[in-house]
């Protein structure tokens, strides 16, 4: 949905993605308008599958120009793709595809907690967060809480992003809303439905953009606009804690 919003707002020249839509409703109307009609501007689309995007970021994270894979063979995603090419297995096995590294200029990842150095604890849904943080030229960590160093150091296996990869760390509670943050926020489903409904027309999108982006100077304003009742409903108050792990030497 974030892709769709950026595209609909005219901020995107090129999309490299496996899926652009709205997890609630399917189609992304902003994406469709741009792709089908060039409104508000024409975009270049580079289609991937989830795994080829994952490998493209992983290649960059590993400092490699490409990674080989068997996915996609026989389909149209890889046919004539500027960044996916056939390669031989140098050991004589069946041919593969090489997926070129994607090195983002900036990755912005939201985590539960980090210290002031940017050493970041993340749990729950990982997806491609870690690969993106490693792959990008600059990585910005936003977090629910900035915590004392000792919290991070109590569980080094939970530190999925070492601080020296991080350009900036920002304490921004609720920074991933309307998406969920395990243990902190539930998914706010209503904005997905609302956006799907409003973005169906260009006028609807513009009104949405004004109300939910342009007129809100910062994240705190977003939370206020969302309303206290919603915030209260979304905030996780229960505790289901991870079993103890002893790091005593």
């Amino acid at each position: 949905m974030a892709f769709d919003q950026l595209i609909a707002a005219g901020n995107v020249a090129k999309v490299i993605a496996a899926w652009v839509g709205n997890v609630a409703g399917g189609s992304g109307y902003g994406f469709r308008r741009a792709y089908e009609q060039g409104v508000p501007r024409r975009i270049v689309m580079e289609d991937h599958s989830n795994f080829t995007v994952g490998l493209a970021l992983k290649a960059a994270a590993m400092g490699l120009p490409y990674l080989p894979t068997f996915t996609g063979i026989g389909g149209d995603i890889v046919r004539g793709h500027p960044h996916i090419r056939p390669v031989d297995d140098p050991f004589g096995g069946p041919s593969l595809l090489a997926v070129a590294a994607v090195k983002p200029d900036v990755a912005i990842v939201h985590v539960q907690r980090a210290d002031v150095q940017g050493n970041a604890h993340l749990w729950g849904n990982l997806g491609l967060t870690v690969e993106a943080a490693y792959a990008a030229r600059r990585t910005i960590v936003t977090c629910e809480e900035i915590v004392p160093e000792a919290v991070i150091r109590s569980d080094p296996n939970r530190t999925v992003i070492p601080g020296f990869l991080v350009t900036a760390v920002v304490e921004e509670p609720g920074g991933a809303l309307p998406s969920s943050v395990q243990g902190y926020w539930r998914r706010d489903f209503e904005p997905f439905l609302r956006y799907h409904r409003d973005s169906r027309t260009l006028d609807g999108f513009q009104a949405w953009l004004r109300e939910w982006v342009l007129d809100l100077p910062d994240r705190q304003a977003y939370l206020r606009h969302m309303g206290d009742a919603a915030a209260e409903r979304l905030r996780v108050r229960d505790r289901r804690l991870a079993a103890a792990a002893n790091f005593a030497p």
Binding site: W19, G26, S27, S49, F51, G74, G75, P94, N125
Partner: protein, 249 residues
């Protein structure tokens, strides 16, 4: 006595029947997710489900989820890895069966979820997501579709998820479950196996944009049992996925 049921509910039951006990299943959202839960609750208690975001579960989430990253799908999971980790397991050949939906299909089981001009003008769809990867790498795939003439085409405009093709390394479409019936693809081409109760061969032929042989005495799809229905209605209490209107794409 069999209660009344929706076509989507029957499709969930048909999906569940495709899962054998002990299998490793690449689970999608919507109907396959319900099918996985139903299979676990009935004939396949030892099946394990992989989600493309990295989650591995051996029982369904305790609460309703809209997306696989929703907190109830994380809580109680046996493992929560990254996208590339589960895709690696898929590429290794560890996944027995995967589910994929599509907007368009051809007789070889090629699925299109990328773009189509089938209705005259260009329509952009969300893209592959993990579909292309499951189609390429799972031991076999089960396809789930709306059965409409514009969706069942002699040739799809774009092969997002490859079906059967010469030189395929592994897997391929095994079964197609539609709003009208259950079809076998294991021989390399669509063949009707059962039609849903009340559906006639003529109806199916009219809803299929390519020639399809259907025996006149073809069996009806076995309807859901009351236990199966009870499970589905507990898992999808508002009929979000199994009500009358199925979401496209």
């Amino acid at each position: 006595m069999i209660a009344t049921y929706t076509r989507r509910e029957l499709m969930v039951v048909a999906a569940a029947r495709e899962i054998r006990d002990g299998e490793i299943v690449f689970v999608g959202m919507r109907l396959p997710l319900l099918g996985f839960g139903l299979a676990k609750a009935t004939h396949a208690p030892d099946a394990v489900g992989l989600f493309e975001n990295g989650v591995i579960r051996d029982r369904p989430a305790e609460a309703f989820i809209y997306t696989m990253g929703d907190p109830p799908n994380i809580a109680g999971a046996v493992a929560c890895l990254g996208l590339n980790d589960v895709m690696s397991l898929l590429q290794q050949g560890r996944v027995d069966v995967g589910f994929i939906g599509g907007a368009e299909i051809d007789p070889l089981g090629n699925l299109n979820t990328t773009r189509t001009s089938g209705s005259g003008s260009l329509v952009r769809l969300p893209g592959s997501g993990g579909g292309g990867d499951i189609a390429s790498l799972a031991g076999r795939t089960v396809l789930i579709m709306e059965h409409e003439p514009r969706r069942f085409r002699e040739r799809v405009d774009y092969i997002t998820s490859p079906g059967h093709f010469p030189g395929r390394r592994r897997g391929g479409p095994a079964t197609l479950i539609t709003t009208l019936g259950v079809f076998d693809l294991s021989s390399g081409r669509v063949r009707a196996v059962t039609l849903h109760p009340g559906v006639t061969p003529e109806q199916v032929r009219q809803a299929t944009g390519f020639p399809l042989a259907i025996d006149e005495g073809i069996d009806a799809t076995a309807p859901p049992s009351t236990d199966e229905l009870a499970y589905i209605r507990k898992a999808d209490p508002d009929g979000f996925w199994t009500g009358d209107t199925m979401k496209a794409g």
